[in-house]
Symmetry: C2
Subunit: 241 residues, 2 copies
DNA sequence: CGAGTGGTTGAATTTCTTCAAGGCTCGTGG
DNA sequence: CCACGAGCCTTGAAGAAATTCAACCACTCG
């Protein structure tokens, strides 16, 4: 059922090789990353399209993203797929299955990346703040999901795309990247799947936002030309009545 | 901002008056209910349309539903609303704000109901299994949300309504109610909001499912005439291609 | 009994999807 | 080095599904 032929990946035996110590220019660390950075964690490098784990596989650890962009997705029995989120540095993969024996979703790298494997049970006992952070991460994932449910349920196609861009830039900004310029690591089809739109609709929305002078597109590079204007497209809503 | 004029409600001073001891015919209890039923909890009765809490209010406890049906909803700054779920006995209200000082959603009773206020911090220390259950509840809320994101993103209107009915009957069945007959405690507009459909669309979907002989509608009473047939409508999907 | 809430149905409209065709970019192999 | 193919992106035109608008009914509650 779950062929793991493409999950083979390079693992660093036990601990940190020097060049892996968090880069000196390191931007604001996530609380979780700050908590565990000193520990000798299993680190795992992944190339684009490699799976961190797949739904149904036995669950062994939580994965903290240290670099790269990942997507998580769920699949129905009859093959319908839905991307549940795009995940950046400092975020956790596998949270949703904390109480289960197997993973509940797929997690796959969108480009080269690195995850740290957190020995969850051990950390819970030895690091008091860990449980705290875990609970916070779970609760904020719920709020994040609800936020997107709200967006998808009440915004028209173009607004959803705008909301998507704004969300991404905000999160990248929080990681220390330029908040006005970004590289989409996912395809238009991925964006469409996440936003419950067809890829053509995403393309048209992007083209139109560019025509309005709000963004500038060049392949997967997107520059926000008018952040305020982009944000303003969200309020004028379909839910006018 | 948050007028609480309709949140006043009858509180039982400290502990259980005799008639409140869980009914003798009690069906399968939720794990959480079993864990705390012996404790002297603050119990709170609510009438239809009363709020358990509202977004922005200071958070004091978790609320365990002991009776009744509740809905939780989030609101955007510009007034768009989205119902994030309908909650039954044994489920927790306020989970999503566990790490915050204020509630993150509204929780309102759809008919008469009762919630038990869980002294979260205290339980965490004294009852070892409590943290475990809490984590499980958080994780399954995430999976539940993802399941609905998948459904809303990949199913057509009529299929969403069918999925909604099947979900409700399954959950009511797990509580010991008849799995074939139920009373919707929410309006068509509520169902539509939850499923990201207009209320007219919900009505048409229900009418059509009835015309197909799969269900029988009488006001808010709904009987599942053909559970298998209803479930079968889910697979033949829009995501055919 | 009258008003109001909630539910139902029809017809017109809109938005998004579907289908089709073509172009761009990058990596691979000749 | 160039050609070629695959994957990804873009645009147009036709079609379908759901929304919007409008009217009306049924039941309940004061």
């Amino acid at each position: 059922m779950f062929d793991t032929h493409d999950v083979v990946d390079s693992r660093q035996p036990t601990a940190s090789t020097p060049e892996f110590i968090p880069p000196a220019q390191s931007p604001p660390l996530s609380a979780m990353e700050a908590l565990v950075r000193a520990l000798p964690l299993q680190r795992r490098r992944l190339k684009a399209k490699q799976y961190v784990f797949r739904a149904g596989q036995p669950r062994h650890t939580l994965h903290l993203i240290h670099a790269g962009v990942f997507k998580t997705s769920v699949l129905s029995e009859d093959g319908r797929e839905k991307i549940t989120g795009f995940r950046l540095r400092g975020e956790l993969l596998g949270l949703d299955a904390l109480d289960m024996a197997t993973y509940a979703c797929d997690a796959v790298a969108l480009d080269v990346g690195e995850v740290w494997e957190l020995p969850c049970a051990h950390l819970r006992e030895t690091v008091p703040e860990f449980q705290e952070l875990l609970t916070a991460a779970l609760a904020s994932e719920i709020r994040r999901d609800w936020g997107w449910m709200l967006a998808l349920g009440t915004l028209a196609a173009e607004q959803r795309v705008a909301a998507f861009l704004l969300d991404l830039t905000a999160r990248l900004g929080a990681l220390g990247f330029s908040p006005l310029c970004m590289t989409l690591r996912m395809t238009r089809a991925d964006v469409g799947n996440f936003l419950s739109l067809q890829l053509e609709t995403v393309v048209r929305a992007l083209s139109h936002l560019q025509a309005l002078g709000l963004i500038r597109i060049e392949r997967r590079e997107i520059r926000i030309e008018d952040p305020a204007g982009l944000a303003a497209t969200l309020s004028a809503s379909r839910a006018c009545h």
